[in-house]
Symmetry: C2
Subunit: 263 residues, 2 copies
Amino acid sequence: MLVRSGILAAADGDAVSVHNETGAGDVVLICEHASNRFPVSALDLGLSQEVRDSHAAWDPGALALAMLLSSRLDAVLIQANFSRLLYDCNRPPESPAAMPAKSEVYEISANVGLSAAERYARMAAFYVPFHDRISETFSARVGQGRRTVVITIHTFTPVYFGQPRSVEIGILHDADSRLADAMLALAPGEPYRIERNAPYGPDDGVTHSLQLHALPGGHLNVMIEVRNDLVRDEPGLAAAAECLERMVSNALATLSEASAGEA
Amino acid sequence: MLVRSGILAAADGDAVSVHNETGAGDVVLICEHASNRFPVSALDLGLSQEVRDSHAAWDPGALALAMLLSSRLDAVLIQANFSRLLYDCNRPPESPAAMPAKSEVYEISANVGLSAAERYARMAAFYVPFHDRISETFSARVGQGRRTVVITIHTFTPVYFGQPRSVEIGILHDADSRLADAMLALAPGEPYRIERNAPYGPDDGVTHSLQLHALPGGHLNVMIEVRNDLVRDEPGLAAAAECLERMVSNALATLSEASAGEA
């Protein structure tokens, strides 16, 4: 039996898209939860419109925010094109969260008891092409001697299991906290409540893309989480993008000066 | 950072090989543990020759037996070309046994605490091409309207954790036991001690390839395990191949008659 085909039809398009591919900036933006799209042919998982619109299916506002940052930083942006409920590209295949049977209060019954063939098919259709495309992009940049700073863009729900969240922007990091530290040092001057590894952090398994693509090569990296009620309209998006561009640019400038001082 | 490259150099060749690709028989043979080879460039895992020669690294005799069966059944044979200690192609990425830190009495210290990037790199280098090749083969056959019977060929160690095993040939199956049942019905006439789901079975997670490739398409399938002391030399291999060809051919003939009787 064919395990790969049948997942994505021609009309579905690719599992991954790249924006501003020739961007000259140092930053590469990654948006794993950009889309709440499901393949046209099948695999809608039988979800209600409520679930499909919810943060369980995607990070609302994350792609729009990432697009603004891509423009401001002249950064290439790599996005996944399908819902995280099919395969969460920020989770490894060995994680139950990769194809979750439950997400917050939402039961995803179509993901209960997935067969090995179904798990393989989804991994091959969604996860592998996404991360291969990032790898190829990084390989090409490294081959050209270009600096590569990895920033993943996410949003989070303002209310989780009925509890409101007060943090507005989370600056998350894994073992390499250089860029996060530099950004957090600038946070007090910004008009948001900004916290480290909040509302969750690396112990919750959310830094998979950083572990895959940034840490092995020693690339500066950070994961940015913005509360999604703050990026629901154009003024909100513009304000968040302006703040984040300033923090990222100034943090990178600080780190460049520091490394120049060491040299 | 590039997560795929660096695993396999050009000198390593492909992760998967296909023998008798134009074979006209109904059977497709799969040999996940065919090889104890490690890439030339790196990734020898620092193992002693003893471990590299042991059943932990591969199934000794399985490829030679599969080649004989390929010839006798005119069957295409798909084999993995690297040691199961790098990636066990009969285990899904979510299984700890995919890149085992321990195998029977052997500690595989190089597999302890693997990073996400390393796990991804091995999965992409070894597991994905192997199963994609099988999928492609099956898709092509199905497209041509050809019958496809899936048989995976394995060997097991005669002594496990110090305990001798008396079973000589195991006929293993997952949810679809049609071919296994038909073969086991013929077992009393064969000069081996032949048992169902022994010395281990589907509950031990050993039927992954069947789950991926046979069950979703409804293809007849079976996993064959031969005790490796019985296939250490040419006479032993020839005897086992003769027995298995007879059992497989007669079982398939019985099943064809049965389905013709139903029609």
